[in-house]
Amino acid sequence: MSVTPFLVLSALLFSIGAIGVLVRRNAIVVFMCVELMLNASNLAFVAFARQHGNLDGQIAAFFVMVVAAAEVVVGLAIIMTIFRTRRSASVDDASLLKY
């Protein structure tokens, strides 16, 4: 079975995530789009692992999951703090620092 469909799907997911980060306004949604990009990488890793017939890619996917979980902890903490201070999770409102 060819792995190409999986790679195409993974590229699509990655692009949707990247575009989402750039166009969405809510910090939580932006962050979800980053997670989508990480999961797209996981899919690519696993598909390539099958193509090459070795386990490196599958192990990489596990590492990425753990790292993504750690990132969620830190990210949600930061977004929560800023939401409680400003009553808004919009990335447009956080604009004290410019030029």
């Binding site: 890793f45 703090t81 201070t85 410019k98």
Partner: protein, 535 residues
């Protein structure tokens, strides 16, 4: 499917004898977390400070001991060994970077621990969970509560920074990237004063940092698809043999570069730098500006020299463009800045551009004459020189204060030379070092990087770099003029008297900047002994 079933797991062999400097730092970080859990609040500050400084010194001693006893690799061609099942390369450049990181972290810890400037508490939020301007925050600050968690967070970041340039495969590098970044995101949001902009800096740094590490990861996945392995040596072999699809290689290389160039703060991925440098607590900015830069450049060099060295003709044009763009943007936009921390941030972007100039002119050990140093070694020297000056400069920024805490607007710095000639003089010295005036470390560093880039054939870029250094010198000198030759506005700034901790940091920064400018030979020799990356 059959090939997958036959694969077996080997239990890893860890060479503790060579990796213990790294393990000491991670161990200290974990013990620091336990200290937070089990010691009474009053004893934590002292315990954390002693633990962190002790760990850094122990690790530095370890680095020296490991460096004295490096085995030869590849029939004596270079020194070093690849440990932990191919995950970590302990070689000359790794050890040089470890040593530099540990020394710079040591003086940064002293800045973190400074308590006299805020009247008995550190510059970090008393209670990060309390909302700004609420009763809970006032209560926390009147009780003198402080977050000593910053020390273990910093140690985790240092551990990640040490692992990042020493990683010998892209997966380890990704994990190290996150280990160094996640604590830094948190540290950025923990300022005691001006908490809104500090939290905003943390949010921006986090979202952009996570975005860029996703690019790094997808690049890793594509390179894995190309080479069938994440090990740098295997990638290098696959690149030489040109076995896989070159589309995968080129796309993967570009995405990897995005992740790494974001961390070094190179244009067009520099947008986070000014915001984060301005919003973060100044001690954290000092630490980040020196140590993150060293770690990220170490990793960038290792990926592009070791893993993708054979594809040099593919990435060199990209790096040419990025080097030129980075130093132009950094130098030109810095001219219009009115905030001192923001200006130093743009200056750090410009310096990243100068360093990438050195990376472009690939001057390998085999082509270099006896007395010449390679581009890798010149970049290592530049990073150390820049690190000391940068930490010193940000340490001076913590001293200039008014009623609302640090005052970073440039207009408030007018007349500082009359108020406090020594502090203003030291700051002027750091600025001259950034500008690359002779007898400072900046001059030696630029000289080393530009000569190696020139002999590597990147002379148009070197000409541009010299031009941009002149532009950059303009805004450094402008600050000096403001400090010494203009009248203070209103009451003028006050210069707080720091405790011994910040004094030591500034003194070490200034001394090293002078020493590396006047007698750079010992450190240059050390960089030369570091040799080249092992494969």
């Amino acid at each position: 499917m059959n090939t997958l079933a036959e694969a077996t797991f080997d239990s890893p062999e860890i060479a503790y004898g060579r990796l213990y400097p790294l393990l000491i730092i991670f161990g200290v970080a974990i013990v620091g977390v336990l200290v937070e859990a089990f010691l009474p609040r009053r004893q934590r500050y002292t315990a954390q400070l002693v633990l962190s400084l002790g760990g850094l010194v122990a690790s530095l001693v370890g680095v020296v001991l490991v460096a004295r006893d490096l085995p030869s690799h590849n029939d004596g061609a270079s020194l070093g060994s690849i440990e932990a099942m191919g995950a970590i390369a302990v070689d000359g450049p790794s050890l040089f970077i470890w040593g530099a990181l540990l020394v710079l972290s040591f003086i940064s810890v002293l800045l973190f621990a400074e308590r006299q400037l805020e009247g008995g508490v550190t510059a970090f939020a008393g209670q990060a969970a309390a909302l700004p301007g609420t009763e809970a925050e006032r209560q926390a600050s009147s009780q003198g509560v402080e977050h000593t968690e910053v020390f273990p967070l910093m140690m985790f970041a240092i551990g990640g920074m040490m692992l990042f340039p020493a990683s010998n495969d892209l997966l380890t590098m990704f994990v190290a990237l996150e280990v160094l970044s996640l604590p830094l995101y948190l540290l950025c949001g923990l300022a005691r004063r001006r908490r809104l902009i500090s939290q905003e800096a943390a949010l921006k740094y986090f979202l952009l940092g996570a975005f860029s590490s996703a690019f790094f990861l997808y690049g890793t996945a594509l390179i894995y698809g190309f080479a069938g392995s994440v090990q740098l040596a295997d990638i290098s072999a696959a690149v030489s043999a040109r076995v896989g699809s070159s589309t995968l290689l080129l796309t993967g290389m570009g995405l990897l570069a995005v992740g790494l160039l974001f961390k070094v703060g190179a244009a067009p991925f520099h947008a986070w730098t000014p915001d984060v440098y301005q919003g973060a607590p100044t001690a954290v900015t000092a630490f980040m500006s020196a140590c993150t830069k060293i770690a990220a450049f170490g990793a960038l060099l290792r990926v592009f020299y070791v893993g993708l060295g054979s594809a040099r003709w593919d990435w060199q044009p990209m790096m040419w463009a990025i080097a030129g763009l980075t130093m132009a943007i950094g130098s030109v936009i810095a001219i219009t800045q009115t905030d001192i921390k923001r200006m130093l941030a743009y200056s750090s972007i410009a310096h990243a551009g100068f360093i990438i100039t050195g990376l472009v002119g690939v001057q390998q050990g085999v082509n270099a004459a006896e007395a010449e140093i390679t581009s890798l070694q010149s970049i290592l020297f530049y990073l150390v020189a820049y690190g000391f000056a940068s930490i010193g400069a940000f340490a001076v920024v913590t001293l200039v204060r008014d009623a609302g805490g640090e005052t970073t607007h440039l207009s408030r710095w007018a007349g500082l030379g009359r108020e406090a000639p020594i502090v203003a003089g030291v700051f002027a010295f750091f600025l001259l070092a950034f500008a690359g005036i002779p007898l400072t470390s900046g001059f030696t560093g630029k000289w080393a990087v530009f000569t190696s880039a020139w002999s590597g054939g990147a002379w148009p870029l070197v000409l541009l770099a010299v031009l941009m250094s002149v532009v950059a010198a303009f805004f450094y000198v402008r600050v000096i003029v403001i400090m010494f030759f203009s009248d203070p506005v209103g009451d003028g700034p006050t210069v707080a008297v720091p405790s011994i901790l910040t004094t030591v940091t500034i003194t070490v920064g200034a001394t090293m900047t002078l020493v590396l400018g006047v007698m750079p030979q010992p450190v240059l020799d050390l960089a030369r002994q570091a040799g080249e990356f092992i494969r």
